[in-house]
Symmetry: C2
């Protein structure tokens, strides 16, 4: 087993001033190539703390991945500290110099004296080009441990990892050939799903592992096959998947990295179908789920944010009698909202939400978390009542997930 | 200086399967009471790894805060490992037993044999009641170091920290009296802001520290005063704030924990004014910024998601000639959108967005990131052209932040 440690350097992360998204991403990517993270650490911009963690991690890990502290300012001390640790010195790296100068020229930026430090690297570093920024990546092979140094800016770090570091690690450590299949499910909780497939899971061969990756409202299953030949492993993983698929079929919405709204978008595009939304309690969040996807203008026409009841009447032609008799959070109202937005915008489907997102506004008959959703099609209108919890943000998100899941089933 | 370490236990975090939001929150809260985090670590569900990190951190820190691994299942080994580390044993804790049984009874859940382990604590633990879940908090005082054990579920952890642990730490360590004032700014970058106030910052007295807390589109300034008497410190911090305020006044939108959309919502509520939105490129995200705030129904009436041009015409009465002549991303179109949504929904203000969010759809004249925003009032319509970058998600967010900032200035 190849063991990795991930080290984040920077006071801002240590004191909780900024969010560290790098560490999770790096560990997930290492996991995919069969390298196990054994520890993650954050230390501040302190030479002593950095030297300590380098020494400690070299005893536990085969590869140490370090992010942050590569900027040109005084408090960025990663490179200097690497020099001290390796007993090397900072030198102008010819290729880094060419690349950094070109980076500034291309953007018409002035290369200040401070910025010149960006092309100084420890003399024992293998230079890894960063096409998205000025802080080079670095690779060190020191006393049997590999050290990788990456900038803390997430898209620069991800670019360097994907293009250079991950392939280099696979080559260096001769990691086993690995094949992943990620199966994305919705509408079933992690433990229920686990019970449903436990016989199959227990019978998996030793070279195929299963991981549950839950997020709010959905669970991903990841099958990972290890071996020597990609074609063989891929076949084995697919065979296992085919065995379990009939059991979980109704919950599977997609594979790999595709989000539910992307899968739906692709199907709608293929079928040349369109949608519109009438949102009350989701207040724009449902529309955003569709429109955050690039290319959504092919199927998302628009909609009405009918937050206030007056807007439900004036912009969606909901019958005032319906609102008076049944209230805004009712099957009768949601049905009119979905059918009317579909008609008004001339779309294949009309989606509607109305409920009590909370934390206030609940009543004994309709407590916080009571939410109605509906989808109108040419021939019918499907309605569903949700009984969710007390958290506003969660209620809004789960409402969107639920209606997306119904839409998925309708469009097939 | 009181030094803290934060340890997260769990394979799911180590392998990047779930996001750890606890660590950042804990370190930020410790920072507020004057306790400095010196290291953060994540280790897996392995006894050896947990014992190692306990031993190491006790050498560096006065307080070690541990989250996770407190569930009733086999892979949750934090309590057992604490026993081994402290040379103590798991015993039924009488008060924990009463609380856990009451928790299950209240919810009509069956207390299984497995769940009974929830009220077993190491014999040297001080029990900290968790009213939001079944995993108790624990406090240990061992060989001069304080160990705190908390469940990994974020809202349970936050409840325990806020209600019990933070006050207990302040008492135990007799931390200095601290007063914070957080000043929230928008419309100015971190480095420009720093240059603007550097003379003032350099002249701050030794017992008042300044921190920059940037997030996408806004920067918070935090002034922290240390001393012995709260009233005195508060007065000193307010005096310093009053000195800098005239310089940064136009960028300040609020104080403390209040988000921009909450500040705006409060002002609108006070003035009994209302808003509506006409969203093209933001596709619901702007509406969501308002409606994610509890109580927004007092001022947010609703709006139109006019994603497709046909919806701009049919639902917002935008003149087809305007669209034909100037395009959807133009000052002329955005003006009609804002004015018409205001009129249609009868609100005090009408907000509109239209632009090329990307990554596709740009042209040489209107590259990706070209976005028009507008706010119509009774007497005028303010329009603004934004020139943003190439990232869709960022463009959508910054568009919303920009229009919120204009609205803030209008409502005063």
């Amino acid at each position: 087993m190849i063991r990795a440690e991930i080290i984040t350097i920077g006071d801002e992360i240590l004191y909780g001033q900024i969010t560290d998204t790098n560490t999770q991403w790096i560990s997930a990517e290492l996991d995919k190539i069969g390298i196990k993270t054994v520890r993650k650490s954050s230390v501040g911009d302190s030479e002593e703390a950095i030297l300590d963690i380098f020494t400690e991690s070299s005893k536990r890990a085969d590869v140490v991945i370090v992010t942050g502290g590569l900027g040109p300012t005084k408090d960025d001390i990663t490179k200097k500290t690497f020099c001290k640790y390796f007993n090397s010195e900072l030198i102008d790296h010819p290729q880094a110099q060419i690349d950094v100068i070109a980076y500034f020229q291309k953007r018409n930026f002035v290369l200040s004296e401070t910025n010149k430090s960006q092309y100084q690297l420890p003399s024992n570093a293998t230079y890894i080009q960063n096409t998205m920024g000025t802080a080079p990546g670095m690779w060190f092979d020191f006393e049997g441990t590999i050290y990788v140094s990456l900038p803390g800016v997430p898209y620069e770090m991800k670019g360097l990892m994907t293009l250079s570091i991950l392939p280099k690690l696979q080559e260096h450590f001769k990691t086993p050939v690995i094949f992943h299949k990620v199966i994305r499910t919705i509408g079933i909780g992690e433990s229920t799903l686990a019970e449903l497939i436990d016989v199959w899971e227990d019978a998996l061969p030793d070279n195929i592992k299963l991981a549950y990756l839950p997020s709010m409202g959905s669970v991903r299953l990841r099958l990972t096959g290890f071996g020597e030949d990609l074609k063989t492993i891929e076949k084995e993983v697919e065979e296992q998947f085919n065995r379990v698929f009939p059991t979980i079929k109704e919950y599977v919405y997609g594979y790999g990295n595709e989000e539910l709204e992307e899968v739906i978008g692709r199907t709608l595009t293929q079928k040349e179908q369109t949608i519109s939304v009438a949102e009350s309690c989701t207040g724009g969040y449902l529309g955003h789920q569709f429109t955050k996807v690039s290319g959504s203008s092919a199927y998302f026409m628009g909609g009405v944010l009918a937050y206030d009841n007056s807007v439900k009447i004036s912009q969606l032609n909901v019958n005032p009698e319906t609102l008076k008799k049944h209230g805004a959070v009712s099957e009768e109202t949601i049905r009119e909202m979905a059918e009317n937005v579909r008609k008004k915008l001339g779309t294949t489907y009309g989606l509607a939400t109305s409920g009590i997102a909370g934390p206030n506004g609940g009543t004994p008959e309709k407590p916080v978390g009571t939410i109605w959703i509906a989808i109108a099609t040419e021939t019918e209108t499907i309605t569903k009542k949700l009984t969710l919890g007390g958290f506003r943000e969660q209620n809004i998100h789960l409402t969107a997930m639920n209606i997306l899941n119904i839409l998925r089933k309708i469009i097939g």
